[in-house]
């Protein structure tokens, strides 16, 4: 007689939780106090840190774009134009520079930026 039900009740051994918890402790190695060594405290802090990291990654991109736009506005105002005018002119001349490159130009190569800005303002 072949009994097939009883083997189905045997559960496979769960993996050692040491390794799962070690993944958390590797991220909490530089924390203060119990959050460094006690799993129940560490996991809370680590999950918070990871969610902050997620939000921060998205926010950083927005912050950088805002910074570049602010710098471009300042550069344009110095030469008597504004950023929308510069944008339009660049589009019409089929110049596909992004805000980051333009901002870098405005800082490090100011004469190029001035020439560009005035040319495109005339356009």
């Amino acid at each position: 007689m072949v009994f097939l039900t009883s083997p189905a009740w045997i559960r496979a051994a769960k993996p050692d939780k040491f390794w799962r918890r070690r993944r958390t402790f590797r991220l909490s190695a530089h924390y203060f106090g119990r959050a460094r060594n006690c799993y129940k405290t560490a996991i809370i802090r680590v999950e918070k840190a990871l969610s902050y990291a997620l939000v921060g990654r998205q926010q950083k991109k927005k912050d950088m774009v805002q910074l570049w736009e602010q710098r471009l506005e300042a550069g344009c105002a110095e030469h008597g134009t504004s950023l929308p005018v510069l944008r339009q002119g660049l589009m019409r001349c089929n110049v596909l520079l992004n805000r980051k490159t333009l901002a870098d130009l405005a800082i490090w190569e100011p004469r190029t930026f001035k020439v560009r800005g005035s040319q495109l303002a005339m356009e």
């Binding site: 530089h30 840190a49 990291a53 990654r57 490090w108 100011p110 190029t112």
Partner: protein, 187 residues
């Protein structure tokens, strides 16, 4: 993303153009092999010393090899580089072949520590035309200006305010009235 959990140094990108373009100088200066003569952890090291160390030393005349037999200690290799960096490579339970492989890695490496790159680009000369300063676009005649100056420092023109518009409208209205009065008066 924070990298503090890595406990790793951080550097900027560097191009080691001073070594290799003309003449290549190996950066590994000396290796000090500390091992135990009896313990089983040092077996790989002992085999390496028996079979390969002399060949290694002959093939690399620029690297000085020191051997330190010290009892009851775990075996390790101390790597010292020309820029002063020291690295300790644990040789515990390494086989002879593995130890040789690690030494080959060390032989080809500069002494720069393994570090996180902060930015993927670096330039010594970021600006060709000169960095922007507040005086980049200011004409040099301002150096010789005497104040008060009418030409250079006029207030920027702005749009008419609502009050000014009303005033203008009123003045025009009054003029119109006067004209009609005059015409009606004369006629």
């Amino acid at each position: 993303m924070s990298f503090k959990h890595l406990f790793m140094k951080s550097t900027f990108v560097k191009a080691p153009i001073q070594n290799g373009i003309g003449r290549y100088v190996g950066q590994l200066q000396r290796i000090t092999v500390k091992f135990c003569k009896e313990h089983s952890d040092s077996k790989g090291v002992r085999d390496f010393i028996e079979n390969q160390v002399v060949d290694f030393a002959k093939q690399n005349p620029g690297i000085v090899v020191y051997l330190k037999p010290r009892r009851h200690r775990a075996p390790h290799v101390k790597l010292e580089y020309l820029n002063g960096e020291t690295e300790i490579l644990s040789a515990k339970c390494l086989s002879e072949r593995e130890l040789r492989q690690w030494l080959e890695v060390a032989r080809g490496s500069s002494g720069e520590p393994v570090a996180r790159l902060r930015k993927m680009q670096h330039t010594d000369r970021p600006s060709i035309q000169g960095v922007w300063t507040p005086w980049t676009s200011v004409p040099p005649q301002t150096n010789l200006e005497t104040f008060p100056s009418e030409e250079g420092y006029r207030a920027p023109q702005r749009e008419q305010t609502a009050t000014e518009k009303l005033r203008e409208l009123f003045a025009r209205q009054q003029e119109q009235k006067q004209l009609t009065e005059e015409t009606t008066g004369t006629s």
